[in-house]
């Protein structure tokens, strides 16, 4: 009996299939399903080209600091941004992305340099060592949380109870096809626990390109950013004012004024925060503006070109404030050029200092409901 078959797939690629080796092929394809037909040349096997490639690999160890960052701060915050997010892994970064590929909701980007979370980080793929897939944030949080509770045993040596995370393909019960998972493995002194978090099929090359493009666009910084003096105060206010209306007008001025307002036929309710720290383009507030009402002051600043105003959904604004769960040290608001979106940037300091920790970044972009006035 012949052990070697030469096959031709639908795309015309000639492959050599060694039956004894079971499913691997010369090109590194994993055969999950195939059709066969008998011709006068013998059996010919047709198989579908898979996105999943056997040489797509990801394996890393989460550091104690990384676990703490994710479990206590970032995953609870990201869980509020949306149920499902994309996890985009590259040679240097791990990035959590919400709503980057669909237009409607609040976009959220949490980017970590690999050293901020991982040790011994290994990644490889045929797409420049980039891997991306969709994952349920609450399942991810649950897996991290239960791994933490297991890691209370002290074993021998530094690797005794490290949390390993890797990409695998497994055949779950009641399934005929293997499915991809992000697996958490904890080895304690006496027990080992494996948790599989189901993930989507990894994104294709084209989808990864789309994601990368959206990510590059989302990194665009507004020209003027104002710092929120008290995030709790703002959140408390927005939580209460959202009962009054659905649409929020937000204006940011170069003088350091942040003005949020709900305006309906029955009520106008707003708050103005003045003399905030400004990053980027700034200007001196004209002295005769001092005694005006907040509304008039904003209007004048806009007409001078010193401020921008956009309208966003109150629910989106309130949701983006849930990022306070990540415990940022500073929060900034800015309006992107042409009023295309409202950006909120959360900054984190290196613990014990006032220096920005550049290995972590978190920001949200809120869709604008109305063409903003410039």
């Amino acid at each position: 009996m012949c052990n070697i078959l030469y096959c031709c797939d639908k795309f015309g690629t000639l492959l050599r299939w060694d039956l004894q080796e079971s499913t691997t092929t010369r090109r590194g394809f994993t055969l999950d399903s195939y059709h066969s037909t008998t011709t006068k040349f013998g059996a010919i096997f047709y198989f579908a080209r898979e996105n999943w490639k056997a040489d797509m690999k990801f394996k890393a160890f989460l550091t104690e600091h990384g676990v703490s960052l994710l479990e206590r701060r970032f995953l609870p915050a990201l869980d509020k941004m949306g149920k499902i997010c994309h996890l985009f892994l590259t040679r240097d970064h791990a990035i959590f992305l919400h709503n980057l590929l669909n237009g409607d909701g609040v976009q959220c980007i949490a980017q970590f340099r690999k050293q901020a979370l991982f040790d011994d980080y290994r990644i490889s793929s045929q797409n420049e060592d980039r891997i991306a897939f969709a994952i349920d944030v609450s399942l991810l949080l649950r897996a991290v949380r239960s791994s933490v509770s297991i890691c209370t045993e002290f074993g021998n040596g530094p690797t005794a109870n490290r949390l390993q995370i890797k990409l695998v393909k497994k055949l779950p019960l009641n399934c005929t096809q293997p499915m991809p998972f992000l697996t958490f493995e904890t080895k304690g002194y006496k027990s080992a626990v494996v948790q599989d978090v189901p993930i989507s099929k990894p994104l294709s090359r084209a989808e990864v390109l789309e994601l990368q493009t959206a990510l590059d666009l989302a990194q665009d910084l507004p020209q003027t950013l104002v710092q929120v003096p008290d995030l709790n105060q703002l959140q408390n206010f927005v939580d209460r004012m959202k009962h009054v209306g659905d649409l929020l007008n937000v204006s940011v001025s170069k003088y350091g004024d942040l003005h949020v307002q709900i305006s309906t036929t029955l009520i106008t309710l707003g708050a103005e925060f003045r003399k905030l720290l400004v990053i980027g383009e700034q200007a001196e507030s004209p002295s005769d503006d001092r005694n005006l009402s907040a509304q008039t002051r904003s209007e004048r600043a806009i007409s001078r070109g010193d401020a921008q105003r956009v309208q966003v959904s109150v629910k989106h604004f309130s949701r983006s404030l849930q990022c306070h769960l990540a415990k940022p040290d500073c929060t900034f608001y800015g309006i992107a050029s042409q009023g295309s979106c409202l950006t909120v940037i959360f900054q984190f300091f290196i613990p014990g200092t006032h220096q920005t920790d550049k290995s972590i970044s978190l920001h949200c972009r809120l869709p604008v409901l109305d063409p903003g006035s410039n």
């Binding site: 408390n236 206010f237 106008t268």
Partner: protein, 310 residues
């Protein structure tokens, strides 16, 4: 100064409140539906807010001028205007911040007959609001409370509050429990034994007695000449206690019940509108009781279903 037509007159009322939360609590006590139109009446004595339901239930909130840190009244007569209660309360609530006392200024009317509000205690953060008002409909009935017979039929029920996490008042609890039997609740007041009874019959029967002398910590005063019995719709009784603020329970307040001519039920609550830091407030005496000037009076009037008085 020349008085031209363009020159602004002093507004009817400019007042300042040092704790918004108290006002939110007092007004929330009369919220029983999502959409309620309220009528607000201003006078030199203070502010009264009136809400009504189908001519059978009316509630009034009295905010005397002594509750305000500042009360400048310049109107002739008593201006009245209509406002959405829910919107007004939600708006006031936006000025409130937990753990901080928040002062606001309220002014009426604005240039467009609006109600104007703004925060006054902040340092570079300013909250403001403008609420549209309307010309109010005439209140369909303005009940002048008359005692039944020649003698006033009044009793005071002091409600029991349990300390701790779960707060419940005996009256509120009784009315909550009466939800189960049915839609019409009978209130019976009799002199011998001196007792107020709440009775519901429907999906089962439930009778709750508050007896003077027996439940001395629940009933602190009682007066009744002859037996009276009236029925009231459950949903109206429910409205009376469903939104009692927690401060009423913490302060161990009593709610006064009276039945007047034709079975009109009047229930009066006292709501403290003092600041959170009331312990250091000069008005609080050593017994911990608030002086009357820091109390808002809430009155409910409920028409009875059938006059069963014999």
């Amino acid at each position: 100064m020349s008085s031209s037509a363009v020159e602004a007159e002093a507004p009817d009322l400019v007042c300042q409140l040092d704790s918004v939360q108290g006002m939110v609590d007092a007004l929330s006590a009369v919220r029983w539906k999502r959409h309620q139109d309220a009528v607000v009446e201003l006078s030199e004595h203070g502010v009264v807010l009136i809400v009504e339901d189908t001519g059978c239930l009316q509630a009034k909130v009295y905010l005397q001028r002594e509750l305000f840190v500042r009360y400048e009244y310049n109107a002739e007569g008593r201006p009245r205007f209509g406002v959405s209660l829910g919107l007004f309360v939600d708006c006031l609530n936006s000025f409130s911040a937990p753990g901080r006392s928040s002062s606001i200024q309220i002014q009426y009317p604005g240039p467009d007959m609006q109600l104007l509000l703004k925060s006054v205690d902040s340092h570079d953060a300013c909250i403001y609001a403008e609420i549209r008002t309307r010309i109010p409909d005439t209140i369909s009935w303005d009940y002048n409370f008359e005692p039944a017979g020649g003698t006033p039929l009044t009793f005071t029920v002091k409600v029991l509050y349990s300390l701790g996490v779960i707060i419940s008042a005996a009256l509120k609890e009784a009315i909550d429990d009466l939800e189960w039997p049915g839609s019409s609740i009978q209130i019976i007041v009799q002199p011998d034994p001196p007792c107020v009874t709440f009775k519901g019959e429907g999906h089962g029967d439930l009778q709750i007695d508050f007896t003077y002398y027996v439940n001395t910590d629940l009933v602190i005063a009682f007066h009744c000449d002859h037996r009276v019995s009236y029925r009231y719709k459950y949903k109206f009784l429910r409205a009376i206690t469903s939104n009692l603020p927690s401060s009423v329970i913490k302060d161990n307040r009593g709610s006064k019940l009276s039945i007047g001519r034709g079975g009109m039920l009047k229930v009066q609550h006292l709501v403290s509108v003092a600041r959170a830091a009331a312990a250091s407030h000069p008005h609080v005496d050593s017994a911990g009781h608030q002086q009357p000037s820091r109390i808002a009076y809430i009155e409910f009037f409920v028409k009875s279903e059938v006059d069963e008085n014999n």
